[in-house]
Assembly symmetry: C2
Homo-oligomer: 355 residues x 2
DNA sequence: GCAAAAAAGTTTAACGTTAAACCAAAAATA
DNA sequence: TATTTTTGGTTTAACGTTAAACTTTTTTGC
């Protein structure tokens, strides 16, 4: 087709018989150019289909990108299936859209082929969501030294946005204990990335994730105050999905059929667990209590299942706070921003029944 | 702090007494550098905290960004509240994460201050989702001449991913007519961006959106085949939200209390409308039928409302196809990719009752 | 052991901007 | 009117890469 020469600030300047800096100023420093020249430049720019200064060249020069990168701890397509992550993104968006900042969603590079891959790093900073500390993408982002906010992760070198997972799970466990439950199972997403094993509360496997770690600590504390042996409490790792929850519940109940309470570390897991219990003919909450975390399910998602007792955390607010902190100039590293959470008791938990 | 000098390919080369091209090759063309030198470079790079070639400089040189831009027709934070848009994004992600392509979410610039703003354009192409044709961000993206896929928008100059909105709505209207309904109201998101007016099927206001346009055409066709006067059918524009649907339903029923069917152009609108009908004491579907579009609601979202008769369209598939088309090399402009849709009849529609 | 081919490395130029320092003309001040 | 200030514009350099063409060294084949 019409393969006309590439249009640049320079070519425009040449054509107009002025210096390219003036053209640049027309776009970036309106005050430094007379209105007359400016509109002359704009008119010409339009006529030759110029769409503004090349962003790469501009960024190279200024060192700014006008974008922030978001890194999740799992596949992007997973994040978009998780209401928590979506709310989190909505929170981030609510800030970025008023600032005019672009949001770059960075997929995890599964293959750490080359430690120096660009990491799609045309961003001014990162938000890391509940990262697994050994993940190569995570580590690369952290190492890069850009302004970074970590969410659900504790790092003294960065601003962190945290929920008090430990206290919430301690309270939740206390609540379960107060209902008389003694045989308890725990269902969690991986304690270490990609692992799906079984352990017990006294011997927790190698950890790689702050959130899980904290939640387990909370359970431990509460159990520690009781007369229950930690070694009797099974912890099953599984994928954070409804199917994962179902599978883990099946497995735990298989190993330890007298379990009367399943503490799940997410609503999705809990929902899967409840569904599986029902399938196994175990009534929730009469025969077995189930708890979740997040409070992201529509309350009457499935009318044949009870509403879920869970911990409500404000994912939207997390996103907002994280984005605010990142875009704010006067940020201090090491700062910790706390997001409130609270236990919501609903129908999926009850006093222990007779077996 | 330790304000050591910036590390670049050049500084590394200088330090190692080699040429900077070799350092570049170590990162990009492993075959062009001996293994020995390569590991020497890598070791040194690590020791001085070098994180790989500067992405802006690289992009300036190569003209590639490794990212695609997504532009929605509304605020980003809105998109993250809409299950259709989320599924769409999930579809896009599913492709990008295997390609290692970043996804740049570009907020609409509300102020068209300067026609040449960068538009956060560090992308190799755009996906535009159901754009309003007069929107400045939309127009700017289209004008830019990058590879672009438009979704739910018809453009002979681009690849378009389309659902047959017209036929689906024609069928849906036929179905409503077949149930005996004669007084029908239509509730839609804006036919023209930002407008919330009322019109009638024979005199549709100025249009700015392909999807709405097609759906209205579909209704028109079906009504045209009946003996109903188009002028008697009211169309209410409103925000695409539950509240919008409720408000529009209230308004329409206020103007025309004998309406027995509300055709809504999204599930969210339909859900709001149903809720409002219930509030007004009008039983769905006994007194009034309601239809939606998208099929994104959990079927028993609210047990006091019937399941929604709607058009199922695969937003996830739309996203996948759009991303595939954009990233694919052998793409032809003007190509149209069709996404299947189908009517799903549920409990929110019924034969007309006696008033 | 020599020519040819392959591998490893170098030199040069360019990608398209913006920032800083500078200069000339016009406008404001005394 | 002479002096300062402001406005509008220019010149120069640099941002950190990669691509292309070139040179040198090593390997291969006979």
């Amino acid at each position: 087709m019409k393969s006309r020469k590439k249009v640049t600030l320079k070519s425009i300047a040449a054509e107009l018989g002025i210096t390219h800096t003036s053209v640049s100023n027309a776009f970036n420093n309106p005050t430094k150019v007379s209105d007359k020249l400016r509109s002359k430049i704009f008119n010409y720019a339009k006529s030759v289909d110029y769409h503004g200064p090349n962003p790469a060249a501009r960024s190279l020069r200024t060192g700014l990108y006008g974008a922030i990168g978001i890194i999740f701890n799992d596949q992007l397509s997973y994040a978009f299936s998780d209401p928590h992550d979506i709310e989190f993104l909505r929170g981030i968006s609510s800030i970025c859209e008023v600032e005019g900042t672009n949001i770059v969603l960075i997929p995890l590079k599964n293959s750490s082929v080359n430690d120096f891959e660009p990491l799609g790093a045309m961003v001014d900073g990162y938000i890391l969501n509940a990262p697994y500390s050994n993940n190569p993408t995570t580590q690369r982002a952290l190492a890069r030294g850009l302004p970074t906010v970590v969410v659900d992760f504790d790092s003294p070198e960065h601003i962190s946005v945290l929920t008090n997972d430990s206290i919430m799970m301690s309270e939740m466990t206390d609540y379960i204990l107060s209902l008389g439950h003694r045989q308890i199972g725990i269902i969690t997403f991986p304690i270490k990335e990609g692992r799906y094993d079984l352990c017990t509360l006294d011997r927790v496997l190698d950890r790689d994730n702050y959130v899980v770690s904290q939640r387990i600590n909370g359970c431990k504390e509460a159990i520690g105050r009781s007369n229950i042996k930690m070694s009797s409490i099974l912890i099953q790792e599984t994928t954070n999905s409804e199917d994962g929850g179902a599978e883990a519940a099946r497995h735990l109940l298989d190993l330890q059929p007298d379990i009367t309470a399943l503490i799940c570390f997410s609503d999705r897991l809990a929902y899967g667990a409840m569904t599986e219990c029902k399938r196994l003919g175990l009534a929730v909450p009469q025969r077995i209590s189930v708890t979740g975390f997040d409070d992201i399910l529509p309350q009457n998602l499935n009318s044949t299942l009870p509403a879920l007792t869970t911990v409500r955390q404000e994912a939207y607010e997390k996103g907002r706070k994280a984005a605010e902190a990142l875009l704010q100039k006067g940020k201090e590293q090491g700062q910790r921003i706390n997001i409130e959470a609270r236990i919501i008791k609903r129908g999926s938990t009850a006093k222990i029944g007779k077996l």
